[in-house]
């Protein structure tokens, strides 16, 4: 019942957001140009690197394309669905705008997540990301395991959602206006293969802030390169971060103090 209600609300907010975006002139243009430029710069950078070396931390170029495609795909999907909504949370908390949501018969976290859902305008980004993954697959000389990839990718998206909601929910405890900056910088670490990081950094990015699990592990799964312990780590991290993000949010929302006026 609750899932159905959320799906209906999600379709309503998507429609409202689309109408809202269409009320501004040139809704597509600037975002699209910016996104395509970023994609191009990153791909050119890796292409230049691979002109000098055959592998990067053991990763050949096509696996890196799959990693980059996965990175851009998660980025596009997350911004289209929940990041644009959640990144308003610090402002809602600081200025008391969360009041209205708190009195509505909704799951506040879910509703804020999909309140700014943007289906149509993200299609070019998502399509380009998928194109990069397909390009990597088609040029790959290694056997491919798409089902395994999709499963680990799904786990990666759940971890991404959990980390995102934790980052923005920090504002329940202490207002952080630069949450979006922290979120973006953190996830940018994921566009490089995990094997280029060494020592403590590698472990931090695998367990403490599991950026590697979100981006590198699906690309490894596509090549059947994921060890059993890494697969178990994916499952464990997914469950642990999801549960922690729920507890963190629920205890945070109890501390919500609104604002005067």
């Amino acid at each position: 019942m609750k899932l159905m209600k959320n799906l209906k609300l999600m379709s309503s907010t998507a429609k409202l957001e689309m109408m809202d975006r269409l009320s501004e002139p040139f809704p597509f243009t600037f975002v699209l140009i910016g996104v395509l430029l970023r994609f191009a710069v990153v791909i050119i950078f890796f292409k230049a690197v691979y002109l000098q070396v055959d592998t990067l931390g053991g990763w050949e170029i096509n696996q890196t394309y799959i990693l980059l495609g996965t990175y851009f795909f998660i980025e596009a999907i997350s911004w289209a669905s929940y990041v644009r909504g959640l990144n308003h949370l610090p402002r809602y908390i600081e200025f008391g705008d969360l009041d209205i949501f708190m009195t509505k018969p909704i799951n506040v976290k879910a509703f804020i997540s999909y309140r700014k859902i943007d289906v149509i305008f993200s299609i070019p980004q998502i399509a380009t990301a998928i194109g990069i993954i397909i390009y990597g697959i088609l040029n790959s000389q290694q056997p491919i395991n798409i089902l395994f990839y999709l499963f680990v990718l799904l786990c990666g998206i759940i971890i991404h959602f959990s980390i995102t909601s934790i980052i923005y929910a920090i504002s329940f405890y202490k207002i952080i206006r630069q949450s979006t900056y922290l979120h973006t910088e953190l996830h940018e670490l994921g566009q490089y293969p995990i094997s280029i990081y060494k020592g403590a950094m590698k472990w931090i990015l695998s367990i403490v802030v599991p950026i590697a699990v979100i981006y590198s592990f699906p690309a490894k799964a596509m090549y059947n390169d994921l060890a059993l312990w890494e697969f178990l780590l994916v499952i464990f991290i997914t469950i642990a971060f999801y549960l922690f993000s729920r507890v963190f949010w629920n205890s945070g929302i109890k501390r919500y103090e609104s604002a005067k006026g």
Partner: protein, 329 residues
């Protein structure tokens, strides 16, 4: 005896806040060390409100009105005390509770500003799971009553403040709540819009028997709509009773408006009472109630009175007198 729909016992709320010294130096210092302070915004408040009551909840700025309303509606988590609203504990923030209440905040907007109000209403239909038939019927009733049928498809940001507030009220009533919290719903509105909203609220309360708690700085709103008045000051409950009683108990004066057919000097009026307004041919006096009859008859005999009006002190005057002089209530 009618059962309470709102039951509040020993409700308290403490906020933690920080103080920062003036200027850039103060800001830099605050990065490392900030002075942590606490403020008890609501102190041991206990209230019982019955179904269908229209209660005015007033107090000066920072008295704790909005904080109390926010705790009753589940927005804020109380520090201490018990609350039951429509059979629910607002702290639990259950969906079934939220379907029974609604809140309108004059200074906060729930409508999508760049879209027509109808789009937000359609979203709320899904949110409150209202079937299509009853939703359309209710929307028609409310928009007709508030006279905004023609503005339903106009972008919210293009509406006047009065029209926007009417739509905010409609948005809060679509699901037919049992309890409605109104936090300064007429703030910033012109006199005509205030009057129209008051007329609507009075009728709505009478017909639907919805319990309404109203906070407003406009005493006309409160005097016109509520029989019962709750006053909160510095977080503490000061008065809980009828409006008539507080006027009788706290006003010691009668207000008299006089017009003269000859010029009358201010000094000649002072012997009768406190002169609150004066021009050569008109004056307003405040005369102590106990000798008002005697003074009025002397005034009429001694001065060239053309017309005279006696009125009781208004709620606004009583309340401002209480708050200004910080009288105990």
């Amino acid at each position: 005896m009618q059962k309470s729909i709102i039951h509040v016992k020993n409700l308290s709320k403490t906020f933690v806040y920080h103080k920062k010294e003036e200027g850039l130096k103060g800001s830099l210092k605050a990065v490392f060390k900030r002075k942590k302070l606490t403020k008890q915004a609501v102190k041991n408040v206990s209230i019982e409100i019955k179904k269908g009551e229209f209660v005015g909840f007033i107090g000066p700025n920072g008295a704790g009105k909005t904080t109390t309303l926010k705790m009753l509606s589940g927005i804020l988590y109380p520090t201490e005390g018990d609350i039951k609203v429509a059979g629910h504990d607002p702290r639990r923030r259950e969906e079934s509770f939220k379907k029974k209440i609604s809140i309108v905040m004059g200074q906060k907007q729930q409508l999508w500003p760049t879209l027509p109000a109808i789009e937000t209403f359609n979203l709320y239909q899904r949110m409150y799971e209202i079937s299509e038939g009853p939703y359309r019927k209710r929307l028609k009733e409310l928009t007709e009553l508030l006279d905004v049928v023609d503005q339903l498809k106009v972008q919210v940001r293009k509406l006047s403040l009065g029209q926007r507030m009417k739509f905010e009220i409609i948005a809060s009533l679509l699901h037919n709540p049992k309890v409605l919290f109104l936090d300064e719903p007429t703030i910033g509105l012109d006199v005509v819009s205030q009057k129209k909203i008051r007329e609507f609220l009075r009728k709505y309360n009478r017909v639907n028997k919805t319990t309404i708690i109203l906070t407003s700085h406009y005493m006309d709103d409160v005097q016109d709509l509520c029989k019962r008045l709750i006053i909160i000051n510095e977080g503490k409950l000061g008065y809980d009773g009828s409006i008539d009683k507080i006027i009788n108990d706290y006003s010691n004066d009668k207000n008299i408006k006089i017009s003269f057919y000859k010029k009358v000097d201010r000094n000649r009026l002072r012997v009768f009472g406190k002169v609150t307004k004066h021009s050569m041919y008109e004056a307003e006096l405040s005369i102590p109630q106990e000798d008002s009859l005697d003074k009025i008859s002397r005034l009429m005999a001694q001065l060239p009175v053309k017309d005279l009006n006696i009125k009781d002190v208004s709620l606004e005057e009583v309340i401002s007198d209480i708050f200004e002089k910080n009288k105990s209530i």
